[in-house]
């Protein structure tokens, strides 16, 4: 009779994907934002690729961070406003698992496309093609961590009017280590140096967030729904 936890997760993922298909614009917008922000820097700094090359890793990563922050608005707010989150909290199923499933699906819809788009933007900023795997790899690990930390911030600020600025103020300081290791990994790759160190640390941070994040999310959500 009772659905198992895996079935519950599948149900959540299925619902999110179905909703995403019907809200395609919300999925594409962060991507467009990512491209637009990345094109600002050549305009602001200089058209010469040689100059852009040494700031390219930082630019791509900062743009990815801001795009992930932008997409957080649509993570929990619609569910809290239409009451479905309340039903999740009262379903008797572990809310941490439900929110984790929702955040992972959100990452699949916003983080992964970002990872696939980043190499093109990197090349546009003069990064050699040899850097693509490290760029995609570090962004894959990094955007997942950003999604979880962002989800905690989103859960904390979902009940706050005009909470998006507050969300950025809460989440960006927590995400700075991800930026440091992510941008550094790509920078090392462009100089052909070993990138194992920062990538391992990115993976370690992701595991830490996967382990502790969901409990912070569910506690924060229960407070926000009071």
């Amino acid at each position: 009779m009772e659905p198992g936890l895996l079935q519950i997760v599948m149900l959540v993922v299925a619902r999110e994907l179905r909703l995403a298909v019907r809200h395609w614009d919300q999925v594409v917008q962060p991507l467009i934002f990512f491209v637009v922000v990345t094109t600002l820097f050549p305009l602001a700094i200089s058209p010469s690729l040689s100059e852009l090359r040494n700031i390219a890793p930082g630019v791509v990563w900062v743009a990815a961070m801001l795009a992930s922050l932008l997409s957080l608005e649509s993570l929990f707010r619609p569910d809290v406003e239409d009451g479905t989150m309340e039903q999740w909290a009262l379903s008797g199923q572990p809310l941490a698992l439900l929110l984790l499933a929702k955040t992972v699906t959100h990452w699949l819809l916003t983080g992964l496309p970002l990872v696939m788009m980043a190499p093109w933007m990197g090349t546009a900023l003069g990064l050699p093609v040899s850097v693509w795997p490290v760029l995609a790899g570090s962004l894959a690990l990094g955007t997942a961590t950003l999604s979880i930390l962002g989800a905690i911030g989103a859960a904390l600020t979902v009940a706050v009017r005009r909470g998006s600025v507050l969300l950025a103020l809460l989440v960006l300081p927590l995400e700075m280590p991800v930026l440091i290791f992510g941008a550094r990994a790509v920078d090392l790759a462009t100089h052909g140096e070993a990138v194992a160190g920062p990538l391992n640390l990115l993976a370690a941070m992701l595991l830490l967030c996967l382990a502790l994040g969901p409990f912070a999310m569910s506690a924060a959500m229960r407070v926000s729904m009071e």
């Binding site: 659905p3 149900l11 619902r15 909703l19 239409d82 479905t84 009262l90 008797g92």
Partner: protein, 218 residues
């Protein structure tokens, strides 16, 4: 103040829901003052009182959405705080808002919300929708339904959840006359099946039902 005389009950309290000395503040206002009541299987308790008396807060508090400042809520003898998930598996809560996704159809909404709790066949879902006279809305997106139809889809979720305790906040808002009659028959059927109902509404529900009582909040 609620005097115990108003809410007398003799049966043992281990089977149902027991609330003792519930206090709740909203900002500076002392909303719930030592609210106490018991709800046995097969009983309906309707919370009545003027607007702003704290009916919704009481229901959300009992459901576990709000933490009371002090007081004790027990479900089947155990404190709510210790076995919250088990309590929630036995609870179906209907709030002011209908908890429906506008983009999903009525059937999809029910599949994703009831599916969290138990396997429900398509026929069972369609039968419940037919019972609530909205069988024709099954495949329409919730966005295009009227307020009354949305309320019936939310009530269908409560019925399909198979929970023994129903907490319904203004269940019959936006419903027309035969909608109310239909809901009252569902409530009576649930009571007959040994379920219990805690509800807040302005007009009395199942007034002449033997197991129906009321709790006045000031």
């Amino acid at each position: 103040m609620v005097t115990l005389a108003e809410v007398s009950h003799s049966l043992s309290t281990t089977a149902g829901l027991e609330v003792r000395g519930l206090h709740l503040w909203r900002g500076e206002r002392h909303l719930l003052r030592a609210v106490s009541f018991a709800l046995q299987p097969g009983e309906l308790l309707q919370v009545v009182g003027p607007n702003g008396a704290g009916k919704t807060s009481l229901l959300r508090c009992v459901a576990g959405l709000i933490e009371a400042e002090s007081g004790e809520i027990q479900w089947q003898g155990a404190a709510l705080r210790t076995n919250r998930d088990a309590f929630h598996r036995q609870l179906a809560y209907l709030g002011h808002i209908n908890a429906l996704k506008a983009e999903l159809t009525a059937l999809e909404n029910l599949r994703y919300s009831v599916g969290m709790r138990r396997q429900v066949s398509l026929e069972q879902t369609q039968a419940t929708l037919a019972r609530l006279q909205i069988a024709h809305c099954a495949d329409l997106p919730a966005r295009s339904l009227s307020a009354g139809q949305k309320r019936r889809v939310a009530l269908a979720r409560v019925i399909l959840s198979g929970a023994s305790l129903w907490i319904l906040d203004e269940p019959i808002t936006n419903l027309d006359v035969d909608g109310i009659a239909c809901v009252e028959s569902c409530l009576a059927e649930h009571l007959q099946g040994g379920g219990s109902i805690l509800t807040a509404a302005h007009q009395p529900l199942l007034e002449h039902h033997p197991q129906s009582r009321s709790l006045r909040l000031h």
